[in-house]
């Protein structure tokens, strides 16, 4: 009967490599370093807060007739998580040693901005004729969704 010790070493190592590769492909996202995971999680949370806050604040503005100082206060409140996200991304990019990941994040952000600009131009022509949600209210959501989707697609394509 063949014992495990009889299997040639090379065959064993290639078997291990194949298993490793299968494992890597299945859990691609788990290969990110602690720093990358922590930073991306923080950025995602901040972007989520941006979206949630923009929805809540827009609803408040639509339902209540607020004075100008309160409107300024709400505006500052609305941009706080956006600024925090920008600083978080800048901090992440500065600390990221992996140039490929840095490249992916920057490319995803550019895709996000590009899609927002394209949608902005499109809606600027269509908006007065339709009763769709004003684009300004959803531009941040479009940016977050498109940038996140691009990053996911790029990571998935490179498994």
């Amino acid at each position: 009967m063949t014992s495990i010790l009889d299997i040639p070493r090379f065959a064993m190592s290639s078997l291990i490599v194949t298993k490793e590769r299968e494992h890597d492909m299945r859990f691609c996202r788990r290969e990110l370093s602690t720093y990358q995971r922590r930073s991306l999680r923080f950025i995602n949370i901040m972007m989520g807060i941006c979206i949630a806050l923009s929805i809540v604040l827009q609803a408040i503005l639509e339902r209540h007739n607020l004075s100008m100082p309160i409107r300024y206060g709400i505006a500052i409140l609305a941009i706080t998580p956006v600024l925090a996200t920008i600083f978080a991304i800048a901090r992440y990019l500065r600390g990221e040693k992996d140039e490929y990941m840095r490249n992916l994040v920057v490319a995803s952000m550019l895709w996000g901005l590009g899609i927002v600009l394209t949608a902005d131009i499109f809606f600027s022509y269509v908006e007065p004729l339709t009763s769709v949600v004003p684009f300004g209210n959803i531009s941040l959501d479009i940016f977050v969704l498109s940038a996140s989707a691009t990053l996911e697609i790029k990571l998935w394509r490179n498994q």
Binding site: S13, V17, D24, C28, E31, S33, Q36, E99, Y100, Q159
Partner: protein, 68 residues
């Protein structure tokens, strides 16, 4: 840019994850470089050369160079 990373890695029986760990980069980086989707910076190319104990030209070559 073409490269011989896959060959050099196979000679040493290293997986992409092994190489990534040795260079302190993500496995995605190694995959992207091997498949030619991403060109490494000069410092990273030097790190590859040091790890494989060879020069950069024997790992990476310009497309035009290959054609000629």
């Amino acid at each position: 840019m073409k490269n011989r990373l896959r060959v050099l890695r196979a000679e040493r029986k290293w997986s992409q994850a092994d190489l990534a760990q040795k260079l302190d980069v993500s496995r995605q980086s190694i995959n992207a470089i091997e498949t030619g989707r991403f060109d490494p910076s000069l410092p990273l190319a030097f790190r590859f050369a040091r790890l494989f104990e060879t020069n950069i030209e024997s790992i990476f070559s310009d497309d035009e160079e290959v054609i000629s």
